[in-house]
Symmetry: C2
Subunit: 203 residues, 2 copies
């Protein structure tokens, strides 16, 4: 597995540091038991009122017809590399509380909680997942019959990370570029929006 650990400023648990979003995948199926653990990890995320608004559509290369249908929902750029991944998913957020039909403002948020659990469970098993906003949500609604009270949020490619040399030149450069993030100073505030927290200057 390529080592692409986050160059963090403060100590991170190995699993969090080692998670990343590859575009190159090995030509190797995901074992059934591991696939179940990925789904189970999402299942045990926290959610607003324990509503668990996450739903998943899943396709694997074991069923080529279904796999092609899902691949066809991705934007062309993503199809180009994601077709190497043995498993694809589309995550969907339920936008209403099941108990009372009222709007659930945290549908998208809680799908995020669930998918990060899945991402880290994947990392722990030698897999990685790559989430994509780049897919045709209207097409996904039509293809799968997703109802109006739910929103397709995320397409996901899953597999064992592969050899960056199998990618086109521009994607290879992205795959091997240093990982970058905003500084904590620009995202952590205290007392007032935009005021850098003094905690960041603490002992």
């Amino acid at each position: 597995m390529p080592d692409n650990k986050a160059p963090s400023d403060w100590p991170l648990h190995d699993l969090i540091a080692a998670r990343w979003s590859p575009r190159a995948f090995e030509d190797r199926a995901v074992e059934h038991k591991k696939l179940m653990s990925l789904l189970e990890a999402m299942r045990w995320a926290p959610s607003c009122f324990n509503e668990q608004p996450w739903r998943l559509l899943v396709a694997t290369k074991d069923d080529p017809t279904e796999y092609e249908r899902m691949l066809g929902c991705l934007v062309e750029f993503n199809q180009g590399w994601a077709k190497a991944a043995p498993v694809l998913m589309i995550a969907v957020a339920s936008l209403e509380f099941e108990r009372n039909g009222k709007p659930n403002a945290h549908g998208w948020h809680d799908v995020g909680l669930g998918l990060e659990n899945m991402a880290l469970q994947a990392t722990s098993m030698g897999l990685q997942i790559h989430m994509m906003a780049g897919f045709d949500t209207a097409k996904a609604r039509a293809v799968y019959g997703i109802p109006d009270n739910a929103a397709p949020t995320t397409a996901i490619a899953i597999g064992y990370p592969g050899d960056a040399n199998d990618l086109s030149a521009d994607l290879r450069d992205k795959e091997t570029a240093p990982r970058e993030r905003r500084e904590l100073e620009s995202i952590v505030f205290s007392g007032r929006w935009g005021k850098t927290s003094s905690l960041l200057k603490g002992d």
Copy 2:
């Protein structure tokens, strides 16, 4: 630390199984270095176009005035137990891409990704976090000057899990109740919305 592991149907990484959302917290500060690791974990989550739309407002009991201001943004029910936590945060989603000012539909989703990283980093250090939708977002906007192109999504209590016996009777029952989730059959579909995936019946 109370053991409240998820009774999962398929194997989970220890960190994912051991994460939960307590309401009882020890009267014990979070070490500065651990607090930085929590923030760092959020920082290294994935996000749409690596926009990193997560922002955090942070208050600790080391600054009682700021702590009380943030506690006052929670709904009364949550204030009742969250006041035991040594650290409070309010997470905010940026709703526009910084590069072009266009709407970022994944703001809430990506805050979810970031917060689950934080939750699992917390678990790895003996801490737990409890996320809340129950806070007054209008008040938080006013108190902190959160701009219109951002949305307060989540209030968060952080600390070392404490003794459930310190809680009121009804909360104590919740704290010690078995953890429950929907069955995978009701959330994982293949081919069509609502059609349980045959993967769940696989070998």
